[in-house]
């Protein structure tokens, strides 16, 4: 076994065993599949599993586990599993098919992902991800996902940031939608067959442990307000990321951290919470009323060119600025990758030029993404065919026509690489608690490459968890526990008390006002770049926000009815505590890597400077109580197949 390590500052020592199989990288997963125990097909229906979340990871896991014969219950807060936020992914999904004959391979996808993640992910996990990537495409095609094709009938590809090969499969600008509908339809088939019981408009509010194992959840029916318990032999969290800690992000307004944060408070380790991704191509903020930010797919950077005026304060209309006065900033700084530099690098470049006063648009927080060269090279028709729906969306939101005027874009919080710590089997340190998709921390290191989130969600759900969960069932013999167990009563009582507390404060501020204040603070002090001073400032302010929240919150209505304000209050309460954890992690990691940029640690050219001697590890945090510093456990990262190097996209 490699990849094990044990370190701890503060709390009790805990062994973080990543359970990475022995043997050469290329054989690990094959070997592990053979070594894992199997469940007798006739016994599978006796095992109950609960899946929280119905996005790509959750829906694909629920459908596949039900097909195998397990007894599945699936929960989502949306009114239908088809609406999970995976649906909003635009650009595509990576797979090492090498259909384009342009030099791609499993190893190259593995390498690009490890490098793109700035060498902060586990080699073995990433290699497995690359290995199963091809099967995902086959599976989706067989489900009827209408991927883009050539006239000959074969699948076509596009390029994405951080790669020099074309390996991204897409369905217009709605790839996430089509993949999710494929998984949703597979799930629907299992619901119809009676193998999955689906609970929409139901939110998980507590995780229940019995004898140290995850054995159930407490949920609230969002229509009736009824609190109920559900017991199972294993719990799978597939509840996505926590970018909404920034209030304004590209996430859906309902996306939240509650499920994973409740698990964290019950002892699950939270890994690398400060690894958050700021996406370079979003529509700039237009005012204080803004409720979310809208992403413009990174695929636009295939044909769009990013530029700002060379001179600070140049307020001319973009068309009036001659070529000589324009700075195509990514092409200048990274001639090899140009506009397709990875997201963290492109975002920081945009911030840098805006900080220099060269930003565009009314707020000065924006850069141009210009298609005029592409339109003259390819014709407007071709550009429309490639990006039509994105251009339309841009025009709806801004009222400007991007065929005539360059788009204005600015970075926005988009994805969180951090999440609950899991081992190679996707199980957290709590036996029975598995975490898949964006909710776990495992595959993207400190920065995720474009078109890799869909790949990871579906890899976890279709091809990894169905094997590893069976192994868990076969190798542990879960004792009989049902929801009449005293631990469930206790958890239900805690949930009810908390809901009553929100309703009884009757202070003066709305949930939204607290969320907005928290988000602004996080964006300013722990956003695209972070310093020791900014993080200390945030760590001082967050407990004050938390204290005021519990004293001065105003939530109307009651707990036994459909109450959207009450739902939000619970989510914001958890975001406030998570924000503190993020800042603590960011403060402790004094190196820069990927999406985590510490201004103190940069090269002379202003690139992220890693400190491999001190920080080549996963930081997994253990909860010690609200307001108390969490304790740190380290999982050392070993690189045996790729050379630890300064990332270079020049």
């Amino acid at each position: 076994m490699d990849g094990n390590s044990e370190t701890s500052t503060g709390g009790a020592a805990m062994t973080l065993d990543a359970k990475i199989p022995a043997g050469p990288l290329v054989e690990k997963w094959e070997r592990h599949k053979f070594e894992m125990k199997l469940v007798n097909p006739a016994n599978k229906r006796k095992f109950h599993c609960i899946i929280v979340g119905s996005g790509l990871a959750g829906a694909s896991a629920a459908a596949t586990l039900a097909e195998l014969g397990y007894n599945v219950e699936c929960f989502c807060y949306q009114d239908s599993p088809r609406r999970a936020h995976s649906i909003a992914a635009q650009g595509g999904i990576n797979a090492a098919k090498n259909y384009q004959n342009d030099g791609d391979s499993v190893f190259r996808l593995f390498y690009d992902t490890v490098k793109g993640g700035d060498f902060r992910s586990r080699e073995a996990n990433v290699y497995r991800l690359a290995q199963v990537s091809g099967s995902i495409i086959d599976q989706c095609v067989a489900q009827g996902v209408p991927f883009a094709r050539e006239y000959g009938g074969n699948l076509t590809n596009r390029s994405f940031g951080g790669a020099l090969v074309s390996r991204t499969f897409y369905a217009r600008g709605q790839t996430g939608q089509q993949l999710l509908l494929g998984a949703y339809q597979a799930l629907c088939r299992q619901i119809d067959a009676g193998n999955v019981k689906m609970f929409p408009r139901t939110e998980m509010l507590e995780l229940v442990l019995v004898n140290g194992k995850a054995r159930g959840i407490v949920v609230r029916n969002l229509v009736t307000g009824k609190i109920s318990s559900h017991a199972a032999d294993a719990i799978v969290l597939a509840t996505g990321g926590y970018s909404n800690v920034f209030f304004l992000s590209t996430n859906a307004v309902g996306c939240n951290t509650t499920a994973i944060f409740r698990a964290y408070k019950k002892g699950a380790l939270f890994a690398n919470p400060c690894f958050t991704q700021i996406h370079p191509t979003c529509i700039p903020v237009s005012g204080d009323h803004q409720s979310k930010l809208t992403l413009m797919s990174e695929s636009l950077r295939n044909d769009g060119r990013i530029w700002v005026p060379k001179k600070a304060g140049d307020k001319r209309e973009p068309q009036a600025i001659p070529e000589a006065d324009r700075d195509y900033v990514l092409e200048r700084k990274y001639p090899t990758y140009g506009n397709l530099a990875p997201r963290d690098i492109a975002s920081r470049a945009a911030k840098q030029v805006c900080d220099e006063g060269r930003g565009v648009g009314p707020s000065g927080l924006g850069v141009y993404l210009d298609f005029s060269e592409a339109i003259s090279r390819l014709t407007e028709h071709t550009v429309r065919e490639r990006y039509g729906n994105l251009f339309q969306m841009y025009e709806k939101i801004t009222g400007e026509n991007p065929y005539r005027m360059p788009m204005r874009i600015f970075p926005a919080p988009h994805y969180t690489m951090g999440g609950l710590w899991v081992d190679y089997n996707l199980m957290s340190n709590i036996p029975g608690l598995h975490v898949v998709g964006e909710a776990n921390f495992s595959d993207h290191g400190a920065n995720r490459l474009g078109a890799s989130a869909l790949m990871q969600g579906l890899a976890d759900g279709y091809f990894i968890l169905p094997y590893t969960l069976g192994h868990y069932f076969a190798s542990t013999k879960p004792e009989k526990v049902d929801s009449s167990h005293a631990e469930f009563r206790k958890a239900e009582e805690e949930v009810r008390e908390r809901l009553k507390k929100f309703l009884s404060i009757r202070g003066k501020r709305t949930t939204t006002s607290f969320h907005r204040e928290l988000g602004q603070l996080m964006w300013n002090e722990c956003g695209m770049s972070r310093t020791d001073a900014s993080l200390r400032k945030a760590l001082q302010r967050i407990p004050e926000i938390r204290e005021e929240f519990w004293r001065n919150l105003d939530v109307l209505g009651s707990h036994d009815e459909l109450n959207t304000s009450l739902e939000r209050a619970g989510r914001v309460a958890d975001f406030i505590e998570l924000a503190e954890l993020i800042c603590q992690d960011a403060l402790h990691r004094t190196e820069s890597c990927g999406g985590h940029f510490r201004e103190e640690s940069q090269t002379e050219e202003g690139e992220a400077l890693r400190d491999d001697d001190h920080f080549c590890y996963v930081a997994a945090w253990e909860h010690q109580g609200v307001g108390k510093p969490p304790s740190l456990h380290k999982e050392a990262l070993q690189f045996e197949n790729v050379h630890l190097a300064q990332r270079n996209y020049k």
């Binding site: 239908s80 649906i87 909003a88 489900q143 094709r149 979310k292």
Partner: protein, 249 residues
């Protein structure tokens, strides 16, 4: 801009409901319609009035959660747009705006503007899928799919399942929604295998959910945020007829 809102308020499914009048003052034309409602709600809470309950999630026009009827039109006056992507610059200062839930017997109101659209899920559960398990499928390029068929399948597949088609139809028919899924899968070789069973089962469920019949007036197409064409309804009628009269191949 200053507006006057008349908003449907209904405490729960049993309540009879009524329109309430609320002012919306100093609205920025760059706000989306839902952001305008957010602002109004913040004001209501300050006045001790429970906020208007409405569904929304992605706020970028793709999840299909948001659903309300504005001045009689599902998703409001702009074509091809969900209400979350409708912006206040489409309205004029001083406008009166009537906001109601999607209305259909199959979509009961849960509270204010929130309706229960789970009937759509049950229609998909009745057959809106390809009956294959995970694993054991051929390579993605093993079966060539003509680009034209793939493009047309995609035109249908982009349905977001919001239910505006039902809300716009005087018969509360779900034909556009059902035909989009039937067409998407029938157009592709992977889905064609079980096309007959699928259309019969899905139409059977649609009828069981008490959606009305189609009388070809195309309000559905006019309000569809993804501008899904009614030609798919014609296609579904053909599929259905073949499913009824021809034996399963």
């Amino acid at each position: 801009m200053d507006l006057t809102l008349y908003v449907w308020r209904q405490k729960d499914a049993k309540d009879s409901g009524r329109l309430e009048k609320y002012p919306a003052k100093s609205i920025d034309p760059n706000m989306s319609f839902l952001e305008m409602l957010d602002v109004v709600n913040e004001g209501l809470i300050q006045q001790n009035i429970e906020p208007i309950a409405f569904d929304s999630d992605c706020r970028e026009g793709i999840c299909g959660t948001c659903s309300m009827t504005i001045n009689g039109i599902p998703h409001g006056p702009e074509r091809g747009t969900t209400v979350c992507q409708l912006h206040m610059r489409k309205f004029k200062d001083g406008d009166a705006i009537y906001i109601e839930p999607f209305r259909a017997r199959a979509f009961p109101v849960l509270r204010d503007l929130i309706t229960d659209r789970s009937a759509f899920d049950r229609i998909i559960q009745a057959g809106g899928y390809v009956s294959i398990n995970t694993g054991g499928v051929p390579d993605g390029n093993a079966i060539p799919v003509p680009k034209v068929a793939q493009e047309e399948a995609m035109d249908a597949a982009q349905c977001i399942g919001c239910g505006a088609c039902v809300a716009a139809c005087k018969n509360a028919s779900a034909m556009l929604f059902v035909s989009a899924k039937v067409s998407h899968l029938a157009l592709l070789p992977q889905g064609a295998v079980e096309r007959k069973r699928r259309v019969l089962n899905m139409v059977g469920q649609m009828d069981a959910e008490s959606f009305g019949s189609c009388t070809n007036q195309y309000e559905c197409e006019a309000v569809c945020p993804k501008e899904i064409s009614v030609q798919f309804i014609a296609r579904m009628n053909r599929e259905y007829l073949q499913g009824r009269v021809l034996p399963e191949a």
